[in-house]
């Protein structure tokens, strides 16, 4: 099977110039693959570099060396050396990222925040909004809130809006950073269902999940990040 994500020997160190140039090794020798329809969960204690690895796969953190191979429109592209324009293209049509917190855009209605990824990819606004509504409904965001900007919502509501926005697209790769962290059991169960649906559609996923029960429900494979511990 052809991997969707193929990471080889990726390294990341932060150099803190304002703290006297102190070097903060993050991860070293990160190597793993993710196949279509598979959910890989990154495990390891807090600070082991799980979120950093997700950010490296998304092209948000730069790698010092190594390869972040992403299958994008049928060809393998190395995000570690890609031009900014290529990274943006990959994000638009290949990789979705559900961060821990919603970076809310002022004044934009919730329904449009969720529908935006589809509209950007050319779907008619009405169809995109209909799909957005369906997802918001499943995630128990009451319809009376859909026209409001999510900035004033509770943490859990914002996270559900974020999840809806992340899951609405038909992108072949999805990165999930603690998608259930501030959700109750009922909403966590919806996320587990959504992940299962994505697997059936052949989406490759990398997730960080602290809840053992949920990890057990969604993980096809666990990659232990402590094996990439940067300390020599």
């Amino acid at each position: 099977m052809t991997a969707m994500i193929d990471i080889a020997d990726a390294n990341k160190t932060f150099t803190m110039h304002l703290q006297g140039g102190i070097e903060l090794p993050v991860v070293r020798g990160v190597t793993f693959q993710v196949n279509p329809g598979e959910c890989v969960v990154l495990s390891g204690p807090s600070g082991a570099g799980k979120s950093s690895i997700l950010k490296m796969i998304f092209g948000n953190y730069r790698c010092d060396s190594g390869r972040i191979g992403i299958r994008h429109r049928g060809a393998l592209i190395d995000l570690a050396s890609a031009e900014p324009r290529q990274v943006l293209n990959v994000r638009r049509s290949t990789i979705g990222y559900v961060s821990q917190f919603l970076r809310a855009v002022p004044r934009v209605a919730t329904i449009d925040v969720v529908a935006e990824p589809l509209i950007v990819n050319g779907m008619a606004r009405a169809n995109a909004q209909a799909r957005a509504g369906g997802l918001l409904h499943r995630l128990n965001i009451p319809e009376r809130l859909w026209q409001l900007p999510p900035a004033t919502f509770s943490g859990g509501e914002q996270q559900r809006v974020n999840i809806a926005r992340g899951f609405i697209s038909d992108l072949p790769i999805l990165l999930l950073d603690e998608p259930t962290a501030s959700l109750d059991a009922a909403n966590s169960a919806v996320v587990v269902e959504l992940v299962a649906e994505k697997k059936r559609q052949g989406v490759a996923m990398v997730a960080i999940v602290h809840d053992d029960e949920i990890r057990h429900l969604i993980a096809d494979r666990i990659v232990d990040v402590t094996s990439f511990a940067a300390a020599a």
Binding site: T15, P84, R107
Partner: protein
């Protein structure tokens, strides 16, 4: 932010090659090279005196470089070196295919004539002569920048700062330019007014597929609007890349200092 239609293989709109500018012994801008593609928003960030405004003037042909050149792909598909354009050709570019949003709206507007005339004037400059159509288009643009149509006959000197800036944007965009230069467009505004303006700009840029070169010292503005940033210091570009990469994972000491100086929201 959203990035509609950034195609992988299209031609750049503007290419700067080894641009430098000295004022006497002071090098305001040194060896700057980059390419800008249609629909791409590039933020130039750095402190006052870093050379970013000089660079903007070089890029928009308002200042002649000491070395290097700027190539621009005209609407007819022909790429021209800006220094070889005649004054009339350059002014025509500014009236049609380019916009320039100044920090101080008074520099970009005619303060004593009506808002409608400020917008309509650009249309007349490109040959529109039907009063009714000009007025309709001007009204339409005032609505798009959220100015009450009832104010169309008032002069911008009666407007608030935020309204003036929105009017300046309407005046620039009415001719459907492909490239807009912006010099600290939210600079003199209250924070709440800034947020509204940024949100409006963000929508218009995506909707009209505009290429934008925006000079700002405000990294929050760069984050909200731009795809890519160039960090300038002492006239040089010291770091460049995807906006979220540079802001979330800054490499250069000076960029780290800039990023760490942002107050938490």
């Amino acid at each position: 932010m959203a990035d509609p239609d950034l195609r992988e293989n299209d031609e750049p709109l503007l290419v700067a090659t080894s641009l430098s500018k000295s004022f006497g012994r002071i090098a305001a801008c040194r060896d700057v090279s980059f390419a800008l593609y249609p629909g791409e928003v590039l933020a130039i960030v750095g402190e006052s005196g870093s050379g970013k405004s000089t660079l903007l003037q070089l890029l928009s042909g308002q200042l002649a470089p000491s070395a290097g050149h700027v190539a621009y792909r005209m609407r007819d598909g022909v790429t021209r070196d800006l220094t070889t354009l005649g004054e009339a050709e350059r002014r025509f570019l500014f009236r049609t295919d380019w916009g320039f949003v100044h920090q101080d709206p008074a520099q970009g507007l005619r303060m004593a004539v009506s808002a409608g005339a400020n917008v309509g004037e650009r249309l007349m400059a490109v040959g529109w002569n039907h009063y009714g159509r000009i007025r309709d288009t001007a009204s339409d643009w005032l609505t798009r920048v959220e100015i009450d149509i009832a104010r169309i006959d008032d002069a911008p000197r009666t407007y608030s700062g935020g309204m003036r800036q929105r009017l300046q944007i309407a005046r620039n965009l009415v001719t459907e330019p492909r490239l807009v230069f912006m010099d600290e467009p939210t600079g003199g505004l209250d924070v709440s007014v800034q947020a509204r303006l940024l949100d409006l700009l963000r929508g218009l840029v995506a909707e009209l597929h505009l290429a934008v070169i925006i000079v700002t010292h405000d990294l929050a503005v760069a984050r909200l609007l731009s795809h890519r940033v160039m960090v300038m210091k002492g006239g040089r570009v010291i770091e460049t890349g995807l906006t979220d990469q540079v802001l979330d994972d800054p490499r250069e000491p000076y960029t780290q200092l800039l990023v760490s100086s942002i107050l938490p929201p």
